[in-house]
Symmetry: C2
Subunit: 342 residues, 2 copies
C-alpha cells in the first residue's frame, strides 16, 4: 500500500466558530456535564512532584447522556441533516452507535447501526434500548469484524436504502460536536496550560484541540493512545498515515484503525504531541478515577489521566505546577469484565 499523505486543504474543515455554533445547537440535546477540580488527584500528584503538583480539572463526559461524549457529535450531525433525508446509517463499536441511536430516537430520524458482533455487551444492549424506542425503521446490523469491513457492510446498505452515512469521527459536524466538551471545560475551569484527551479516530482530540487553542493559544494539547493502538501517534510523528488493525487493547473506544481524511490534517495542525500508555497504566488510571473521583470510566475514558501519570514520571517538568484539563470521555464498561476489580 502506498504511503497515504494528508490532504492539508481539509485542515480548515472545522474551526472554532463551528464548535461554538455546535454548542448553541446542542443546548437542550446534550447535558452540560460537570467539571471536577480540587480533587484528591491533585494531592497525590503534589506528593509525587514534591509540592509542585498540577491543578487538574476533569470534564465528566462519562456522565453525558449515553455515557459518552459521542452524543455531542452525533446530535450535531443529525440536527443539520437536509430536509427529506430518508434516515442515517453508521458503524461503530459502541459509543457512537448508542449516540446515533439516541439522537435518532430524540429527533425521530430512522437509524441503521452497523456494529461488530464482538462489541462490548453493555454497549450492544444500550444501543438496542435506544433503537427500540426510536423510529420503527431503526435497527441494528451486526457484522463479523474478523472477516468483514464495516465501511463496506454499511456502504452497501446505505446505497440500497438511500441513507446518509454519519461516520463515527471523520465528519466535520461530528468533529465540531465533539469539540464542545473541551469548550465547556475551558469555559468552566480554564484557562489551561495543558489539555489531554484520548485519541481513537481523532474526532474528540481534534475538536478539543481547536477549542482549547481558541481559549488559550499557548495551551499544549496532547493526544493519548494505548501503546498497542498507536496508529495516530505514529501518523502524527511521520506525517504519513499509519494503521493498526484490531489492536489488542482493553481501550475498545480506540480500536479504530487510523485517523481519517479530516481528522489527520486537523490533528497535524492543532495537536502538539502524543503520549502512549501501556495496558496496565490504563487499568491503574481507571481504578484511580473510580477510587478517588467516585466516577465509573471505561478504559478509553481514563486515557487522559493515564497519559498525565506517564508524564509525571517521565517528564515532570512538562506538568509540574501547570493548569491541566482532562476529558474523561466515557463510562460504558462491563463491570463484570473489569480487570483488577476481582
Amino acid at each position: 500500500m502506498p504511503a497515504t499523505l494528508p490532504d492539508m486543504t481539509l485542515a480548515t474543515a472545522v474551526a472554532i466558530d463551528d464548535i461554538r455554533a455546535a454548542a448553541r445547537r446542542l443546548e437542550g440535546h446534550v447535558r452540560r456535564t460537570p467539571v471536577l477540580a480540587g480533587t484528591p488527584i491533585d494531592a497525590i500528584l503534589a506528593r509525587q512532584l514534591k509540592g509542585h503538583g498540577p491543578k487538574v480539572a476533569f470534564k465528566c463526559e462519562n456522565l453525558q447522556h449515553t455515557g459518552a461524549f459521542k452524543l455531542r457529535g452525533a446530535s450535531n450531525a443529525l440536527l443539520q441533516l437536509d430536509d427529506g433525508v430518508k434516515g442515517v446509517l453508521t458503524y461503530s463499536s459502541g459509543n457512537h452507535a448508542q449516540a446515533i441511536a439516541r439522537a435518532g430516537a430524540d429527533l425521530n430520524v430512522p437509524t441503521v447501526i452497523v456494529m461488530p458482533s464482538n462489541a462490548p455487551r453493555i454497549k450492544l444492549e444500550a444501543t438496542r434500548r435506544e433503537v427500540a424506542r426510536g423510529h420503527e425503521r431503526s435497527r441494528i446490523v451486526e457484522y463479523d469484524p474478523q472477516t468483514q469491513v464495516r465501511e463496506e457492510v454499511g456502504g452497501a446498505i446505505a446505497d440500497e436504502e438511500g441513507l446518509t452515512i454519519i461516520p463515527p469521527y471523520d465528519h466535520p459536524h461530528v468533529i465540531a460536536g465533539q469539540g464542545t466538551a473541551a469548550l465547556e471545560l475551558c469555559e468552566d475551569a480554564g484557562p489551561f496550560d495543558v489539555l489531554l484527551t484520548p485519541c481513537g479516530g481523532g474526532g474528540l482530540l481534534s475538536g478539543s484541540a481547536i477549542a482549547a487553542k481558541a481559549h488559550n493559544p499557548h495551551c499544549i494539547v496532547i493526544g493519548v493512545e494505548p501503546a498497542a493502538a498507536d496508529d495516530a501517534a505514529r501518523s502524527f510523528r511521520s506525517g504519513v498515515l499509519h494503521s493498526v488493525r484490531n489492536p489488542d487493547t482493553i481501550a475498545d473506544g480506540t480500536r479504530t484503525p487510523c485517523l481519517g481524511r479530516y481528522t489527520f490534517p486537523l490533528v497535524l495542525v492543532n495537536v502538539d504531541r502524543f503520549v502512549t500508555v501501556e495496558e496496565d497504566e490504563i487499568i491503574a488510571a481507571m481504578r484511580l478515577v473510580m477510587e478517588r473521583l467516585k466516577l465509573v470510566v471505561e478504559p478509553s475514558g481514563a486515557l487522559g489521566l493515564a497519559g498525565l501519570l506517564r508524564l509525571v514520571h517521565e517528564e515532570p517538568g512538562a506538568v509540574a505546577g501547570r493548569r491541566i484539563g482532562i476529558v474523561l470521555s466515557g463510562g460504558n464498561v462491563d463491570l463484570d469484565a473489569l480487570p483488577g476489580m476481582d
Copy 2:
C-alpha cells in the same frame, strides 16, 4: 432498660433558617455537587410501571469532597466553634471522621478522631491522609468496637484534653449542615413529590426532611434503612427509641445503634415514613448506579435508590408519575470488597 421516649422540645433545635444559614456559611468550603436528572433509571422505571415512571433526580454527594455529604455537617460545626477552643474530637466509622479531619485541616483546628479498628480500609486511609496534612496535634485513635464503646473512649480523651466533641450526627450544627444537600437538590431540580435519603443516625434524613418540606410542604420524605439495621424505622413506628448494636449489614454508614437526642424528635416531626431493604437490594441498587449513572457509590449511598425500587414493586401507586429526589450520600467503598464485582 426502660423505654426511651423522645424529648419533643428538641424538635425545634433545627429549622429551615438554620439550614439556609449553613448553606451560606459553607460556600467555598464544600462542593455544590451536581444533580443528575433524565437518566436511564427513568426509562427503566417507566418500563416497570407501564409508562407511568417517576422522574428521578439524583444528588451526587459521592462527588462531594471527602466522598460523602458528611463534610457539610462537619464544616458547619467547625465554622461555628467558639474562639479559644483547644480542638475537636469525634468518633466515627469513617465518613464523618474524614470530614472532621478535612475541615480541621482546612480551618487549622486540631482534631482527634476516634475510629473503630474494623473501619473500612479506604475510610481509615483517607482519614489518615487528612490528619497528616492537618494541625500537628491532630491524630487518629483506634478502638475495638467489640469491647469498647466509642462515646466512652472519646469522652475520656475529650475531658482530659479539653476538646469539644462534634458527634457524627446528633448535633444541631451537624444536622443543619447535612440539610444543605437536599436544599441544593430542591433548588436545582425540585419541587419533589417524594424525597428518599439513607438513614443511619438520622442527621442527613432529618436535615433533608426540613429542607424538602420548606421547599414543598406536600413532599413525602422517606428514610431508607437496611432491614438488618432497622432501629430508626422501629423507633419511628413505635415512638420509643429502639437500638440495633453492630448490625450485620454491608451498609457500614448505617451501623449507628440508634437515633439521637436531637435526631429522634426531628425525624418524628419531619419524616413521613420509612422503607427497609434487604442486603441484596442494596447491592443491586449500587450496581445500577454504577452501570447506569456511571457513579461509584458505597452501599449506604445507594439506599435511597434501593428504597425507591422496593416501592416500585410493593407500592407502585406511591411513586408512579411522581417527581422524586434521591440523595446518593457517599462513594467511599473498597473496590476490592465490592460484592457482585468479581
